[in-house]
Symmetry: C2
Subunit: 390 residues, 2 copies
């Protein structure tokens, strides 16, 4: 065997070519550490096809699997007890995942953790062609503030995160519009700034002068039969989905506690014309119900992967048609390929009918993404420039 051939064979073995054989596919060997790994961790990795490769030392284990996008992939053990394996190509953007070790579902110790699927667990980032719009750049940055407050409605302490735009600390005479931005079911008030990158999306849009600066309030919309979860420092009962009172319960807290608290503590323009609400999935459904019932409170409506508003809805929502300046509806393209039940009609047709009825609407489809965060990052990026323009 000559040197060249031996080296090629060795390279194939060392770079994991054996897994290609195992999974009977050709895996492109250009894996790099995920951008949301813990400091110093090589694994998990992602390649140019969007495959996720994980690795964990578990010398005593008999079966280890990677569980991502509802598919489990078997890992393979080497002579040192280290298990390695990879998934099929994933869509661009962020995905939750976990490992199974001899029947135990656990977070991957290599990844950072995010709250979704009703748990803190592993996340992975498949580099997206458009990732520049949520990249961390040397531009002026706003701040994301942890805000603790007492809710009279719930007789408990609650927490929200508040994004204040660049310049907020300096222009102390200036007042700003406010977007109330909600997470989805099984997520919480950390989602939009952690995995959603809401702050970075806004910073970049503002730096390019593509949106007016505004405040974003990210609160916890989860609701259970007995009221809101205690979202800090306390155990709580498992959430149902959709949770009892998911719209009405949160609506009371939003209108009675959150909005007055925000208007009292931040330099807001505290009127209907300078207030928007948007949300993803369950948060989109909440946005739909809450804004239909309160067109005197909000001017702009964003529903991301959470249904749409029909002309029939207008009949039971006095003032909505006249007072709302924009109804924005979006979906990931893969959601429309395989529509889930309960969308309440075709969202594109509903939104076109609203436009034909005289409303200002915008329908956006995120290319090649599903019911996941890349759809919602892009939705915020498309929605923000359309609101508070005058």
């Amino acid at each position: 065997m000559n040197y060249q051939i031996r080296n090629i064979l060795l390279a194939v073995l060392l770079t994991g070519g054996i897994y290609s054989v195992q999974s009977q596919t050709n895996v492109v060997e250009d894996f790099k550490p995920s951008s949301v790994n813990q400091p110093g961790k090589e694994y998990p990795m992602v390649n140019s096809e969007g495959r996720v490769r994980v690795q964990i030392s578990a010398p005593g284990a008999h079966k280890v699997q990677l569980d991502i996008s509802a598919v489990k992939y078997d890992l393979v053990k080497d002579e040192n007890g280290v298990w390695t394996g990879e998934s099929a190509p994933q869509d661009e953007g962020f995905h939750y995942y976990q490992l199974w070790i001899d029947g135990a579902a656990v977070p991957d110790p290599g990844s950072l953790y995010f709250y979704g699927a009703s748990r803190w667990g592993s996340g992975i980032e498949i580099p997206a062609k458009d990732q520049d719009f949520y990249a961390l750049k040397n531009v002026p940055h706003g701040q994301v503030r942890e805000h603790l407050y007492y809710s009279e409605t719930n007789k408990s302490m609650r927490r929200c995160f508040v994004y204040t735009p660049p310049g907020y600390n300096h222009n102390t005479e200036k007042r700003y519009p406010v977007l109330y931005l909600q997470h989805g079911g099984g997520e919480d008030e950390t989602g939009w700034s952690n995995q959603g990158h809401a702050g970075l999306i806004m910073d970049n849009l503002i730096a390019e002068n593509k949106t007016v600066p505004f405040i974003i309030v990210m609160d916890n919309g989860t609701w259970t039969m007995s009221g809101p979860p205690r979202n800090r420092q306390q155990g709580e009962r498992p959430a149902q989905w959709p949770p009892e009172g998911w719209a009405d319960g949160f609506m009371k807290t939003l209108l009675n506690d959150i909005i007055p608290m925000i208007d009292a503590n931040y330099r807001t323009i505290a009127d209907q014309q300078h207030r928007a609400m948007a949300g993803l999935s369950m948060g989109g459904m909440q946005t739909r119900v809450i804004t239909l019932a309160n067109p005197d409170v909000f001017s702009y409506v964003g529903i991301f992967s959470g249904g749409s508003i029909s002309t029939e809805d207008l009949e039971n929502a006095a003032g909505f048609k006249e007072k709302i300046k924009l109804v924005f509806v979006s979906y990931g393209s893969r959601e429309l390929e395989n529509p889930r039940t309960g969308l309440g009609g075709n969202p594109k047709e509903n939104t076109e009918a609203l436009k034909n009825a005289g409303m200002n609407t915008h329908f956006y489809v995120s290319p090649l993404t599903a019911h996941e965060w890349q759809s919602w990052r892009r939705s915020l990026y498309e929605f923000a420039p359309l609101i508070f323009k005058n």
Copy 2:
């Protein structure tokens, strides 16, 4: 067998009396979910002795262990493949821990996660008799802000967290003193507000009028041979300990980038008399080195479980003795029982010698705690009222 006896036996079995037998100890069966569990999770639990009981479903596993305070405890499997077991009694306060499943070290899926020991991993809270001082109460709350900034010294984006006290948003003419507060080795800029509860400690002290309100800046003091870790959205090489340049590298960034950035963006009183530095462990050692070299920059010095300052140090630190208004040194009592090497002399004797040399000093010992967060929460609680008093 009569009813009463049968019920007693059943109760013993159901409440886990079998584990008492396994571990040949009497375990008090008053376990409650930990206060830092994930929402809806029953386990991990803590009892009145301070034992930690964990539980995880792992039907295919052969060996599962709880790893806490450097001791591994075997769990026991039931007929459903659920493993349960508990530790010996732990000290009051916060502890990092992990699970071992057939040789894999993983976070417990039941707990919240905290950055320490150079990883995001599980944490548990043993209720402390004095936990009221960091409890979440219905008092006016400050905010913890995520602040992104560009560092000229490092040519990179960095992140810190900034606590602004209650009233900061309203009293827009008022200016505040600043404490620069550093984490320990293997920790990061999230530690003091997450597991340290720095914000809650300050909110409660201020509500009781026990301290003047001040700003706290919590940055990342970790340093590697090639400079600072990239602390956001990027992988990084494993940290050494103590990291190369752990004091000098951070000192440059603190003096050249962080302090000017804070003074430019917050309503600080930007002079030596209104600036303090404190830190725990490695952060205490950094505080020692940086304040000895810069008595023109800081007035108050807090060293928590991180050495002390000797009269010999004063000889090489021009101006320190004259300009520093307080040297505060603290330890957990268990650290003094079993002193680690490298303390640089007896910290109590060193601090008394400083006092005899004419400096204002304070030596504090946290009762029955080790090199852990309960010692440092208490240290902040003792330190804060002593600074910025005039």
